[in-house]
Each structure stands twice: as structure tokens, then as C-alpha cells.
């Protein structure tokens, strides 16, 4: 009996994921209806609230536009993403779109797509390749600009103060493009005034737990810090918990600037715990469809398209919060 139970438990666990069977679409030449277009999208994974909002928006937008979308989740692994792109090539989709997990190592598979005459659109993240004919367009945020926006707010906020402003920076995953660029843009702007001093800069891996742990430790060695600049909302939310545990008031005793503007972050902004958020919009679906339609119709598209984005202060957050989608 005991054995039977364990075997049952065993077999229940082995129910595995079914693979997706895609039919072979013969790609015909000439203009197409939206209904005939097939787009393959290779997503990074579901590593953050931002990413899941991105996935949902793309899926919903394609459904609304009546364009068939083949979707795959690479679970943050480049090899999975390359496999997915190869399978889209064999299936003969009309356009391939993907957010590269890392910046390098794409030349071979992108060349295969080019040889098969399938245009590739990069969303949200860029690839580091010398040959920019391998993709038709890159749609996404300008991370350097985001860092600059964060820095500009800080300069404005402290323009009347002459004493030094001490800043802790919570970096994203080491080596990731948003982490490098957001640090660079921010540094460019605050470098103009020597009163701004980044006293510590550590990675929190874009996670809430990481942001919390780093802030806890850094607050002890730098108790007189004025500002925390976090490369995403989640680390900022972790920092809020660490600041509260230290008996201080986030947003007042220590000002917080973050990037992303996901719902939890916007809520904290509206509650006065965060002071400023630079938006990094995951809602790329509409713009992606425009590109896809243009590409399929044979029109030229811009090589670099920046996503429509804004910034939020506490007052703006209170207004924007009720209809925030993600």
C-alpha cells in the first residue's frame, strides 16, 4: 500500500509540459491581410512583474489586431531562445520578434533568419553585433535616457542645497544592459555638480530580496545617506523595508528614486515612500504591431524606435494609479 501511494505520487509529478505543435505555414509572397500574418515571439521569461506585463500586453495586442502569435518562454536561457528562433525559422513565420536574454552570441541564428528572408525585430533589449543588417528594428526603452531623467530630477530637487548629497545606488544584475546604462545616464547628469556623491553602489540583482539585503548592510556603514537610486522598482521596494526596519521614514529621511513604474512601485510612490519614478514601459504591443505591419507590407522602418515613456512624481502617481494596468 505504502509503495502504491508513492508510485501514484511519482506519476502525478511526472505530468510534463506538452510541447507546442506548430503547423508549417507556407509563406506566400505579396501583400497580406492581418489574418494571414504569423509572428514568432521569443520572450526572455517571467523574471519580474515588468516582464509578465510585457508578455500580457504583447499577447493581448496581437489578439486584438487579429495577427497570429506564436509565443515561447525561454526561462532566462539563451539556448532556449535560440532553439525557439530556429523553430520559428523552420515554421516559416513572417516576422520574428524577441527580447535577447544577453547581448552577445546572436550572430549565427540571426544570419539563419536573414538567409531565410525572415525579418527580425528586437524588443526591449538590444544585441551587441557589428552587423546591424541582421535585424530590421529595435523597439525599446533608452536606458541611458532613463538614468538621465532620474539624475535630472535629483539635480532639480537639491538645487538650493550646497551641502554634499550622499547617494546609494542599487544596481541591476551585473552586466545587464539596463544596469550598465541606467548607471551611466545617472552618473552623466550628477557629475556636473560635485556636491552629489555616490557613497556606495552594489547590485541587488533587480530583486526585492536583493535590494532589501544590500540596503540593510549599506545603511549601517553609511547612516547619513540622503538618497537611494534604484535601477528598478522591486529593489526600491526592498530598500523601503530596510529603511523602515532601521527606524527611518522612506521618502522623507531618505529619498528614493526608481525606474520602471510597475503597480507596486506606483502604489509606494502614491503613499509617499518613493519620491520619483522614471517609467520604463512594458506596453510595447501596439508599437510592435505597427512595425510588424509595416515590415510585412514592405515599408521601411526606423532602425531604433524608442518606447513612449514618461516620469511620475508623487502627485502624478495618485492620479495615474487607478487605471494602471500592471
Amino acid at each position: 500500500m505504502k509503495k502504491l501511494v508513492t508510485i501514484l505520487a511519482a506519476s502525478a509529478m511526472l505530468v510534463s509540459l506538452a510541447g507546442c505543435a506548430g503547423g508549417l505555414d507556407a509563406s506566400a509572397d505579396g501583400p497580406k491581410d492581418p489574418g494571414d500574418i504569423v509572428v514568432g515571439f521569443a520572450q526572455v521569461g517571467a523574471e519580474s512583474g515588468w516582464r509578465t506585463a510585457n508578455t500580457k500586453d504583447i499577447q493581448d495586442s496581437f489578439k486584438e489586431a487579429g495577427i497570429e502569435l506564436k509565443f515561447s518562454d525561454a526561462q532566462q536561457k539563451q539556448e532556449n531562445q535560440i532553439k525557439a528562433i530556429r523553430s520559428y525559422i523552420t515554421q516559416g513565420v513572417d516576422v520574428i520578434a524577441f527580447s535577447p536574454v544577453v547581448e552577445t552570441g546572436w550572430d549565427a541564428v540571426l544570419q539563419e533568419a536573414k538567409d531565410a528572408d525572415i525579418p527580425v525585430v528586437l524588443t526591449d533589449r538590444a544585441v551587441d553585433s557589428k552587423d546591424d543588417s541582421l535585424y530590421v528594428s529595435f523597439l525599446g526603452s533608452d536606458f541611458i535616457l532613463e538614468g538621465e531623467k532620474a539624475g535630472e530630477w535629483l539635480v532639480e530637487e537639491y538645487k538650493d542645497q550646497t551641502e554634499p548629497v550622499k547617494i546609494i545606488q542599487l544596481e541591476g544584475t551585473t552586466g545587464a544592459a539596463p544596469a550598465i546604462d541606467r548607471a551611466e545616464g545617472f552618473a552623466n547628469v550628477i557629475a556636473a555638480d560635485p556636491k552629489f556623491e555616490v557613497v556606495a553602489s552594489q547590485t541587488g540583482d533587480f530583486t526585492r530580496a536583493g535590494g532589501k539585503q544590500v540596503t540593510e548592510a549599506l545603511l549601517k556603514s553609511n547612516p547619513d545617506v540622503d538618497v537611494i537610486y534604484s535601477h528598478n522598482d522591486d529593489m526600491g521596494l526592498g530598500a523601503i523595508e530596510a529603511i523602515e526596519a532601521a527606524g527611518l521614514k522612506p521618502g522623507k529621511d531618505i529619498k528614493i528614486i526608481t525606474v520602471d513604474a510597475v503597480k507596486d512601485g506606483m502604489q509606494a510612490l502614491a503613499d509617499g515612500k518613493i519620491n520619483f519614478i522614471v517609467e520604463c514601459s512594458p506596453l510595447l504591443g501596439k508599437q510592435l504591431i505597427e512595425i510588424v505591419e509595416k515590415v510585412v507590407a514592405g515599408e521601411e522602418v526606423e532602425k531604433r524606435i524608442v518606447a513612449d515613456e514618461t516620469t511620475f512624481t508623487q502627485e502624478q502617481a495618485i492620479e495615474a494609479l487607478p487605471d494602471r494596468k500592471y
Binding site: S201, T207, R208, A217
Partner: protein
Amino acid sequence: MNRIFASRLFWPVVMLLALFIVNLIAFPGFFSIELKNEHLFGSLIDIVRNGAPTLIIAIGMTLVIATRGIDLSVGAICAIAGAVACSIILGSPDPGSVGTVVVAIVVAMVISLVLGVWNGFLVAVLGIQPIIATLILMTAGRGVAMLITEGQILTVNSPPFKVLGSGFLFGLPVATVIAVAIFVLAALLTRRTALGLLIESVGINPEASRQAGVRSRGLLFAVYTFCAFCAAVAGLILTSNQTAADANNTGLFIELDAILAVVIGGTSLMGGRYSLLGTLVGALVIQTLVTTVYTVGIPPIATMVFKAAVVTVVCLLQSPTTNAAFARWRTSLSSRTRKGVAA
């Protein structure tokens, strides 16, 4: 003197003290602990709180390793426990009630225990090598957690659940109190009874133990289930600390940290003799290492290399060859002084 040198705990403790000193130089207030909002506050408190999940898993891992096994699935079990608890709390009409949280925790624990039994079944009954047997759940488990969370990060806003990771009991972090309780439980159960001896005997020679009348199969089931229990507790603490179930990242690579803690503590991966106290020191070394990176301000790009260097030093110091060399050096040193005295 020689007994202290020969102790397996000597080098890990030296390493821990060395890290403390480095921290103290970089940040003079490192040892200060004060009372804030009716709870203790300080760097050392952070270390024992953030190190609690690794320590808890390392305790379970110590017993598994003592049977000459290994459990790679603990990280995945962390993710599953967190995912189950969060989806139950989110699905209930009243996420803030203590009852809901208790139900969520109990269900998460029960599911994790079943997974532990599954590991035990593969190892003890089917006789699959532990590294392969638990590898199955390590890879599949995150998938299971993803299915439970439907690929989303589930953020929970439930005060009673938050207590587990961020709360305080008599001024001490709840996570630390739980870790200490599990440590004491494991130590009493295995060292005040014959259980520990039996586990070691299975690790040294399973066949001989069986012929001597030790029920090795039952013992293996017990240690893998206990390890899964520890993993579930740690997973719930981690999830509560980040107030969200994250199927991809909760407990990621924690199995490696736990194994490292066990090894730094002087327990051999070949099974047999184990030291829970050593594991405790090992877990503290790992967490202090993390804190050191922040206080000293090591740039993130160099963090991995720094950690690797420290771990390499600990392992080198502990290796039997190095220890034998040290012993020879000490004897020659003492004989030389004796000669000096005679002359």
C-alpha cells in the same frame, strides 16, 4: 593546543573571525547592536536573519550528506513551498487573517514533505544515485512552481505571513528563532539518541549497516523528508521576506550555498561523520561573506571572484594534506625550540 588545531572547526572559526575583523576595520560600528522599535538592530542581527534560510537547509543537507547522499532539489522545493503558500493566501477572501496564513503554511509544508518522500523513494527504494534522483526534482520542481504561479510573480500583502521573514519575537528575528529551533531539534534528535550514529553508519557502509540490523531504507526516507521539510521552511521565510512568490528566483542556487556550508563545516561529502555545529559555522561564514562584500564596498563585478577566493582559502586550509603539512611544520618548530633550549 594541538587538540584545538586538529579540530575540524578550527579553520572555519578562524575564517569567520577574520571576516568579522575585516568588517570591523571597514565599518567600526559592525558589532554594535541597539534596540530600535522594540527589536534588536545591527549588522550581526542582519547576518543571523538573512543567513537563517541557508542555515535551515544546511541542517537538513548535513544529515543527507552524512548518509553519503546529496539533495539538489532543495532550491526547487523552496520555490514550490512559496508558490503554494502565496497562491492560497491570494486566493482566499481574507489574505490578512491568521487562519488563512496557517492553512497556507500547512498545505505548503505537506506538499513539500510529499516531495521529500519522493526523493527518499527514488534513493532508498529504487536505489538511484542521490545526485541523479534529486536532480529530477531540481529541474522539474521550478517548472511545477511556475505552473502553480502561472508564470507570474505573486505579490502578497498579508501581515501575518510577513512575520515569518521580517517579524521579531522577543526582539529577535523570527527567522533566526525558527533556525535555532530546527538546529536544536536536529541536534537533540540525532545526538541525544542513537539516530545520529545510525545515520553515520549508513553513510559509512550501507550494506554492513543493513546486515547489522539498521533499517537503512527507513533512515534514508527520514533524512530526505527532513531535508525537504527544512527546504520548505526556508522557502516560506524567503518568500515572506520578499513578500512575493517568485518561481524563478526563490532559493535559486541555495542548494549550492547549503552544500558549501556543510563542507566548510568539516562534514565530508563521502558520508559518515558529520558536525551540525560545523554546519552552523559554515552557514555563518557564507552569510558574513555576503555582508562583507557590501560593507567593504567590493565592486559587483569582482564579487564572485572575492567569494571564490575566500572559499578556496577555507577549503585549502581544511584539506588533510595541508593539515598534515601544518602538523609537520609545528613539530619541527617545537623540536627546534627544544633543541634551542637544550643548547
